[in-house]
Amino acid sequence: MFTLDTRSRVPIYEQLIEQLKMMMMREVLMQDDKLPSVRSLAQELTINPNTIQKAYRELEREGFTYSIPGKGSFVAPFQIDANKERLEMLKEDMEKIVSEILFLGGSKDELIQLIEKVKVAEREDAE
């Protein structure tokens, strides 16, 4: 279910949080679905149960999950604006691309033209 990169510099609990969030956004994990138990995940991935607990605590703190004592953690009602996060990511990518274009001698006007072109194409598609 999970693939952890133990060579990565990113702490394991952060990787877990990212992957669980991704699953919720892509609706692999639906509202009120139960998250795997700490025990089973620790065994499956051979990682420290305290690490998993920490990831679950963090997810709950951020409002992605809720927990029922003695039963486990569950996916909270949908309130994450998945589009918003994706938009932020794309904007960041865009920034890098734009700065490369400008560095290689592209101009601002060319970029604006490009945007206009895409917009027109989209409108035609819609019609």
């Binding site: 510099r9 702490p11 700490v38 620790a42 149960p49 690490t51």
Partner: protein
């Protein structure tokens, strides 16, 4: 759970451990790291109740261990060199353990023996180092310990067995709240296994920290400038290490990601990378800070 306060231990002229404080919480996996000869094994043996400290206090869940049979039922130690009674097989050792340890779990012993494909009637001394180590894990885990102290536990085990044993231990941590104190030199391995680490050097503990906090608190910065600013630019950062290669600056910095980034960005770097450190790098830089750095020797 495990608490050591101002512990001293001297062997004749050698001050092995001096004024050391250590805390391990219940259900935690604590990695004890350190330079060679730092006193790790001595400390572990004192906590396990094999050595008596000269000064200070060591308790495990509020009780002393040294010469306290009750505590020794619950605090198990696996030394770096496995030890068995003379001329015994795994079954012989099991019946010995059964008499000594009241919580002995015969069912578990049997399952583990079959699982690791051990011949329970073969003489333990004739087995390889790795097999002997497996045998000591089987015996120890069958006593249902509350605290497990391991000295270089995964030495000499192949990757498959290593993973299986870790998995068994982690199940006990998840199910029964087993507390683990592990010493190792394999930092790569400790990084994924422990949630708490302490680094020892020359008989004292340099620091003990939550592993994730440690990793998110020290960063490696790689910054390239079109025009390198004055060195005073570093004054705004808590720098542990600084290196300059041409127009690229490499430094190890303590602090929060957001604060460091916004500070560095205000100097208009051309390239700026902020990476968490690996445990190995933390180890090297922290020990470098106390004069135990890497000095490369070129031999002819």
């Amino acid at each position: 759970m495990i608490k050591a306060t101002t512990v001293d231990k001297k062997f004749e002229d050698l001050q092995a451990v001096s004024n050391l404080n250590l805390h391990v919480q219940k259900g935690s996996i604590y990695g004890l790291l350190g330079s060679n000869g730092a006193g790790k094994t001595t400390l572990l043996k004192m906590i396990a109740g094999i050595y008596k400290q000269d000064k200070g206090n060591i308790t495990v869940s509020g009780h002393t261990v040294y010469e306290t049979p009750d505590s020794k039922q619950r605090v198990l130690f696996i030394p770096d060199q496995p030890y068995f009674l003379h001329q015994t097989s795994l079954n012989n050792m099991a019946s010995f353990y059964e008499k000594v340890y009241t919580n002995w779990n015969a069912k578990r012993f049997k399952r583990l023996t079959t699982h690791f494909r051990m011949d329970p009637d073969k003489k333990l001394k004739s087995m390889s180092k790795g097999m002997q180590r497996q045998a000591s894990f089987i015996l120890t885990l069958s006593t249902m310990p509350e605290v497990l102290i391991l000295d270089e536990p995964f030495d000499g085990l192949d990757p498959v067995v290593r993973q299986q044993i870790k998995n068994l231990i982690l199940q006990d941590v998840a199910d029964r709240g087993l507390t683990l104190l592990v010493s190792s030199h394999n930092l790569r391995e400790m990084e994924d296994f422990c949630d708490y680490v302490g680094i020892m050097h020359k008989g004292t503990l340099l620091f003990e920290r939550d592993m994730d906090e440690l990793k998110t608190d020290i960063h490696k910065l790689q910054i390239a400038f079109r025009k390198v600013p004055e060195k005073s630019f570093l004054d705004g950062l808590d720098v542990l290490h600084y290196e300059k290669r041409g127009s690229v600056v490499l430094c190890i910095v303590k602090g929060k990601v957001e604060e460091i980034s916004s500070y560095v960005v205000s100097y208009n770097p051309a390239i700026f990378d902020l990476l968490p450190l690996t445990l190995e790098e933390i180890f090297i830089y922290e020990l470098g800070g106390v004069g135990y750095e890497i000095r490369n020797l070129i031999v002819e």
